[in-house]
């Protein structure tokens, strides 16, 4: 089972960085995320596996696909000449992969025995609400700030500018503001 997920995961990872179209990258990313969810199940982390499917595969990839559809960008233009960053990336990747794999395969040690309740919602939730109660509240603040930031960034700049400039003379003088505001509320 692990072999299947590892092969699929690495193939998906290559797909993310090698696809010409961003949509194909997003689908490859979805494949990686789902195989990682299976890996979490193999590692007795049921709650994290469910979160992975709901948040990452469900919400984040959908958001990516939405933005890709919204932007309708063409694929990357061909590079003008042999780009130095490709060779650099190849060398960096080789060195980094060998170093990291060599480092992590040294991590040996006894595997602690766990009971059937390990990694369930109950156990993780208890840890979240007792030992990690304060970071949990901070995480909610991070989410609120993220939401506010997205709304602020998503607002069209000229709407704000026009509204402040034309604020003194309301009426038919500024139909563009009304139109733009309606557009942004869609």
């Amino acid at each position: 089972m692990f072999t299947i997920t590892a092969v699929l995961g690495v193939a998906g990872g290559v797909g993310v960085i090698a696809s010409r179209q961003p949509v194909h990258s997003a689908l490859a990313l979805l494949l990686v995320l789902l195989t990682l969810a299976v890996d979490y199940l193999l590692l007795d982390a049921q709650f994290i596996a469910v979160l992975q499917v709901i948040i990452y595969a469900g919400a984040i990839v959908v958001l990516f696909v939405f933005i890709i559809m919204l932007l309708r960008t063409a694929g990357e233009a061909p590079r003008p000449r042999a780009a130095p960053s490709l060779g650099f990336a190849a060398v960096l990747g080789t060195v980094m992969a060998s170093a990291l794999v060599a480092a992590v395969t040294m991590a040996r040690g006894p595997v602690a025995p766990v009971d059937a309740a390990f990694g369930t919602v109950q156990q993780v939730g208890r840890a979240l609400f007792h030992a990690y109660a304060l970071p949990f509240e901070a995480a909610s603040i991070v989410l609120v700030v993220g939401m506010i930031g997205a709304v602020a960034l998503g607002k069209r700049a000229h709407v704000v500018a026009d509204a402040t400039r034309d604020g003194a003379e309301p009426g038919p003088a500024s139909p563009r503001v009304v139109e733009a505001v309606g557009e942004s509320r869609r």
Partner: protein
């Protein structure tokens, strides 16, 4: 745990390296962003593996917080990319070089 931990860690290392290579080599901001997600997930796999090795649930709690931060980061990052596309009609990171000295 039927498969020894170093296999999971090696898979995580390979995924992290793929993400790094994607960040360095690709120019579409969207794909660079997805590569960052790949790296975040590789680290999550490491955390879950070590949580299982130690038999403690703390590593999984950290993964939970990484998920929260990743969700906020994706929302903000995609909003920034949309704004860049609106003003410059491109998401190529090589074209957005206003700060280059």
């Amino acid at each position: 745990m039927t498969v020894p931990a170093p296999f999971y860690l090696a898979l995580s290392a390979v995924l992290f390296t793929l993400g790094t290579v994607g960040v360095v080599a690709r120019r579409s901001a969207l794909i660079v962003f997805m590569s960052v997600e790949l790296m975040l997930n590789a680290v999550n796999l490491t955390l879950v593996t070590f949580a299982r090795l130690r038999g403690g649930v703390d590593g999984q709690v950290v993964v939970f917080f990484v998920l929260v931060v990743a969700a906020a980061e994706v929302v903000i990052g995609l909003a920034i990319i949309v704004n860049i596309f609106r003003t410059r009609e491109t998401v190529d990171v090589d074209d957005v070089d206003l700060l280059r000295g």
